[in-house]
């Protein structure tokens, strides 16, 4: 494992990107930061700028307006960057797969490392996904 990736896994900083979601996944993500779930004990922190991020948390069904902005943002993330798709919309577009404004699923646009299914996934599921992400790239908690 590269030194960069190893250092990143100690405390992955997360940037949250909503690409036309219904707020549910976003709120459950914010919920992870609050006292009951407290994801900060894994060193995870929500950051305000994409330039500080190690992990990109994508929710929503990637509508036409967002796709271009998402590509631009993905270019700005310092690499290596891990991508997590939160919710059914980001995973497979779910109920919106027939919509005229949601043309392609997320993994056709940017590479995705971990999918967290659910509509919305519970905070417990999001934490489990975060643990899986760290294990997948070879780190330990």
């Amino acid at each position: 494992m590269s030194l960069k990736l190893k250092a990143l896994l100690k405390s992955p900083w997360v940037f949250h990107l909503s690409t036309g979601s219904c707020n549910n996944c976003d709120i459950e993500t914010l919920d992870c930061l609050t006292p009951r779930f407290d994801i900060e004990r894994f060193g995870m922190l929500l950051v305000g700028s994409i330039k500080h991020a190690d992990v990109l948390l994508v929710s929503g069904s990637c509508n036409r307006m967002s796709v271009e902005r998402m590509k631009a943002l993905f270019e700005q993330v310092p690499k290596p960057c891990l991508v997590v798709a939160i919710g059914t919309c980001a995973g497979s577009r779910g109920i919106f797969k027939d919509s005229y404004n949601c043309p392609v699923p997320l993994d056709k646009i940017i590479p995705v490392d971990v999918y967290i299914p659910g509509c919305p996934p519970k905070p417990e599921a999001i934490i489990a996904g975060a643990v899986k992400l760290i294990e997948k790239v070879g780190g330990t908690l």
Partner: protein, 394 residues
């Protein structure tokens, strides 16, 4: 002094939804605001027309995660309005319980976020910790923390088990002392008074002119609440107060929301204690041709749905108007003349919900350009000209 334009968004840490603001400032003072949306548009109205009446409930639930009861509630009321039918009293009570639970969690969510924007992260953590208890109650009642899927045209999908009711009542009682403490912490704090009082004032007349809805208008003294004005569900069965304040500033909007949470707890407890027996589903077989409207008071204001049926099993047309659509233009009244540092909390004060609002997006073939009203009128006129020429008209 020259004017500067500050762009905010579309991806910014302020709110979790993408939207794009341009603030025109002169020095520290905001003189104008413009916004561009479309980052959340998913074509829900069209999707709803492709699904059956019953399946559409799930689609409208995904309009917004925080209002995941309000939209199905308004939609089912619109379908029930197409033809004369009676929803059983038990179903009405269950609907009211779910709607009020959602109102409490939505108001607490707003309070937490408002605290976060002001730099009061303690309020954020306390409010969201308290919110978890309400989400637990909702999970016991419906099986999910959010997106409850309890509604269907003609009734509700699931019954409330009688053995769950005491557990829920106990949980609801347990949050009241903490909520009282939170209310005192927010309403008696001298720093918050200094920070919020007199900021972003919307007068009574402006609230009327902009047709503001929900807590945004009630903070300005407009006594307007669908639950009182045109009662639905079980709201006329019990005593509760409409919270109206006079000043119209951000502080009053917070007061309205906090006090409304207490009223919601009152309604919730009454409904759980007096849940009548009976069927929960009227079992609608088919929907005759016709049109219906349904409006209910969502946490943010009046949600309005229009459904047109042609006698088949799908809606011919489904129109949604969310409360934020009416509340967004009030920025023009509230933000002008304030400083940039207050802009954040003023933008947050109407409890905006952009994914509710974005029902229309106009684009060219490449999916890039967004037309405004003027362009649309221009396009329309050009088309008329073209048709005139083609038909060899004058």
């Amino acid at each position: 002094m020259g004017k500067t334009i500050i762009p905010i968004g579309p991806y910014h840490p302020l709110q979790e939804e993408p939207e794009f603001f341009t603030l025109t400032v002169e020095g520290e003072t905001v003189v104008d605001i413009d916004m561009r949306m479309g980052y959340n548009h998913r074509g829900i109205e069209k999707l709803s027309e492709m699904k059956t009446f019953e399946n559409s409930t799930f689609v409208v639930e995904r309009i917004c995660g925080i209002c995941s009861t309000s939209h199905p509630f308004a939609y089912t009321r619109a379908v029930e309005d197409i033809f004369p039918m009676e929803v059983s009293m038990r179903a009405k009570y269950i609907r009211t319980i779910i709607a009020e639970g959602e109102r409490i969690h939505s108001h607490l969510l707003w309070l937490g976020l408002a605290g976060h924007f002001l730099g009061y992260n303690t309020v954020y953590m306390w409010a969201w910790k308290l919110r978890e208890e309400i989400l637990d109650v909702m999970e016991i009642l419906s099986g999910n923390r959010q997106a409850y899927a309890m509604f269907k045209p003609g009734g509700v999908r699931r019954d409330i088990r009688s053995e769950d009711i005491p557990i829920c009542l106990k949980k609801i009682d347990s949050i009241v002392p903490t909520l009282v403490m939170l209310k005192k912490a927010v309403l008696d704090d001298p720093v918050l008074h200094a920070r919020l009082k007199g900021v972003g004032i919307m007068s009574y007349q402006e609230a009327i002119d902009f047709s503001a809805l929900g807590p945004t208008s009630r903070a300005s003294g407009v006594a307007r609440d669908v639950r009182k004005d045109s009662p639905y569900g079980a709201y006329q069965e019990m005593e509760w107060d409409m919270i109206v304040t006079k000043n119209g500033d951000v502080f009053d909007k917070a007061v309205v929301r906090i006090l409304e949470s207490f009223e919601s707890i009152k309604i919730l407890k009454y409904c759980l204690n007096n849940l009548p027996d009976g069927e929960i589903d009227a079992k609608i077989m088919d929907v005759p041709p016709g049109e219906g409207i349904g409006h209910i008071e969502a946490p943010r204001g009046e949600t309005f749905h229009y459904v047109k049926s042609d006698g088949t099993n799908r809606p011919l047309r489904h129109k949604v108007r969310a409360p934020t659509f009416m509340n967004l233009p009030t920025y023009k009244a509230t933000i002008q003349g304030e400083t940039i540092s207050d802009a954040t909390i003023i933008l947050a004060a109407i409890d905006p919900c952009y994914c509710c609002t974005e029902r229309i997006a106009v684009k060219d073939g490449k999916g890039r350009m967004l037309y405004n009203g003027k362009d649309l009128i221009q396009l329309s006129r050009e088309k008329t000209e073209k048709i005139k020429k083609r038909m060899g008209g004058r």
